[in-house]
């Protein structure tokens, strides 16, 4: 079976390494406090809803300099695009990963399963890098 290679942005949030499908990423910007107001981010002269992924995963916001992903998402196939800003600790790299190279993550009774669907084991570090579900990103839009 042929396996589709997809590009992912490898990001870091505290101790957690995550992958977000590059298809959803419109831009990566560096965030300064002046651009943030009431959980929104000023981007291209409009305020986007801002989600702090580190705060969501660890309960602690990142106070120092951080990167922000501008995501472009569609709720339905024929819906219009919506933009969302997701603050992360840092952007590490872009990884091209075959679907077949991902492993299933265990089906646990905790909300981690709502955020991640599969994991990629880094060949060098043997660290699990969790792939963020699209539904989780969409749920941020609803919040």
């Amino acid at each position: 079976m042929t396996s589709i290679i997809q590009q992912y942005l490898h990001i870091q949030c505290a101790a957690y390494a995550l992958l977000i499908d590059a298809e959803y990423i419109e831009e990566v910007v560096s965030v300064t406090d002046e651009l943030i107001r009431d959980k929104t981010l000023l981007w291209r002269e409009k305020y986007l809803p801002l989600v702090d992924l580190c705060e969501l995963l660890t309960g602690q916001a990142v106070n120092r300099h951080r990167d922000c992903l501008i995501l472009k998402l569609k709720r339905e196939v024929d819906a219009s695009y919506q933009y969302l800003a997701v603050a992360v600790e840092s952007v590490n790299s872009i990884e091209a990963i075959k679907e077949a190279d991902f492993s299933n993550i265990p089906n646990l009774a905790f909300s981690s399963n709502d955020y991640f669907d599969r994991a990629y084991i880094h060949a060098g570090t043997e660290q699990c890098i969790y792939r963020v579900r699209k539904s989780a990103l969409l749920s941020f839009l609803a919040e």
Binding site: A15, L57, P106, N107, S112
Partner: protein, 483 residues
């Protein structure tokens, strides 16, 4: 030993240390005993889950049993030496779990008579006496709360079995073409569609079946056009009204979107309202719909995103014969020869139009802040951030002999030797598709001749230059090195 004692049911147990005490577990749930392996922390889980570990290619949770049983053990206790030094891989409700424990003592075979089931702790199923110490048996049931119970196979699994299962779990992705018809979204396998074309005119076909819209000229070939919606109604067993209203005089300037279908015995087109685009769909999202022959595609949240249509169903046996009388005869095979197409991206530099092969373009980006170079090098004006990396920006105005493009807000990102470059331009125009043979490729030159144009093409009576990405980028590398 009496006959009764011989026939008594015995079970195997493993005794291990935990926080300075002894504990045991039934061997039937135990799959493997391992030394500790690297753990990846997992967010949004209780503190007793250390994280995930990779055991023989499978990612499983690692439970710190000492923390999990915090009501029974002192969580602050650290055993002399290395602390928890063993992983017990167990299977609970079909899910493999690694239990982080102390040292393994020895396996025991115990009969029911040797066990005391009077333990009032939910986490223990029984206890027994071992070297004059009371040893509790860990109940697998207490670990159930960690695992989601839904759709989990019961019983013991082996890693060999897992390998087979993983093969089945591999996502088979299929490419679907999404279309819209009568306000509904449908999807058909891309492999079933020969080509997607837009035509400006469809001639009515008098006295034809009610599903036929008319005849359109596609690449100089008359092609019978069916109404996708009417075929769908017919397939569902409904009455099809003659689609008189589809082609009206008010729609003279309208372009009709057609899906060209080509089989051994069939050459026709399906008229749809709109071609939405392509999507890769995993098999798990393709489900049976209202009718047994009908399939639907759902999103990850279970919402139906499209009805999946098998085009073969529209033209099975009798139906195909019924329509054959109205199909153009296709007098010669050459009419069906598809002319290979090449897509070009048109853009402006100081009012002049240029093009790039779309296959050379990685992405078009805009509104990026450019970080200037301390010292101008060749035609490079600075760098911009792209997908988290800084990439060089080439001033295409300067490179092509115009004035500098100082206020560019639009960039075409191209790839040269696996590195991305941004080309600063005045603005993107449109993407056009041209017949590949119509592109006049320039002949080979000496390497010393730096020629930014690699081909010419005529689009809508306008001669356009197709720029050579490799030359544009390599020119800047050479000059940068020299500088």
């Amino acid at each position: 030993m009496s006959e009764l004692q011989e026939s008594a049911v015995t079970k195997d147990y493993i005794v291990f240390s935990l926080a300075g005490e002894l504990l045991s577990i039934e061997s039937s749930v135990l799959l493997e005993v391992l030394e500790p392996v690297p753990v990846s922390p997992l967010p949004l889980v209780p503190s007793y889950i250390d994280g995930l570990v990779n055991i023989n290619g499978e990612i499983i949770p690692q439970i710190n049993l000492q923390v999990f049983l915090q009501n029974e053990f002192d969580v602050t206790y650290t055993a002399p030496g290395s602390g928890n030094s063993t992983l017990l891989v167990v299977t609970i409700a079909g899910q493999l779990i690694a239990l982080s424990v102390g040292m393994i003592q020895e396996p025991l075979q115990l009969s029911e008579q040797q066990l005391d089931f009077s333990s009032d702790k939910e986490c223990y199923s029984a206890f027994f006496s071992y070297q004059q110490i009371q040893v509790n048996i860990l109940s697998p049931n207490c670990l159930f709360e960690i695992v989601k119970s839904e759709n989990k196979p019961q019983g013991k699994r082996s890693f060999l079995g897992e390998i087979d299962e993983r093969k089945e779990n591999e996502q088979a992705l299929k490419e679907y073409l999404y279309i819209r018809s009568e306000e509904q979204v449908f999807a058909t396998l891309l492999a079933d569609v020969y080509e997607v074309v837009d035509v400006s005119e469809i001639k009515r076909q008098p006295n034809s079946p009610s599903t036929v819209v008319g005849v359109a000229l596609i690449r100089q070939t008359p092609t019978l056009v069916f109404s996708f919606q009417a075929l769908l109604v017919e397939r569902r067993g409904g009455d099809v009204n003659t689609p008189e209203s589809i082609i009206t005089d008010e729609q003279k300037d309208h372009l009709y979107s057609l899906l060209l279908i080509r089989r051994d015995n069939l050459y026709c087109a399906l008229l749809v309202d709109e071609v939405i685009g392509l999507r890769l769909i995993a098999e798990q999202y393709i489900n049976t719909g209202e009718h047994t022959w009908q399939q639907v595609i759902t999103g990850s949240e279970g919402v139906v995103t499209a009805q999946a249509i098998v085009i073969e169903d529209f033209f099975s046996g009798d139906l195909c014969e019924k329509y054959r009388a109205f199909m153009p005869s296709l007098s010669s095979d050459y009419q069906l020869q598809k002319v290979p197409q090449q897509e070009l991206l048109q853009f402006y530099i100081k009012g002049d139009k240029y093009t790039l092969l779309l296959s050379d373009v990685v992405r078009i980006i805009n509104n990026k802040d450019i970080h200037p170079l301390l010292e101008r090098q060749a035609f490079l004006t600075g760098a911009i951030e792209f997908d988290g990396l800084a990439i060089p920006v080439v001033d295409m105005g300067l490179q092509l002999g115009y004035e500098s493009i100082l206020d560019s807000r639009e960039y075409i990102v191209v790839s040269h030797n696996n590195e991305n470059w941004a080309l600063a331009i005045d603005g993107v125009d449109e993407i056009v598709s041209v017949d590949q043979p119509s592109i006049d490729v320039l002949g080979a030159t000496e390497k010393s001749v730096q020629r930014s144009v690699k081909a010419y093409v005529c689009v809508k009576d306008m001669l356009l230059s197709i720029l050579d990405v490799d030359v544009i980028c390599s020119t800047n590398i050479i000059n940068l090195d020299a500088g």
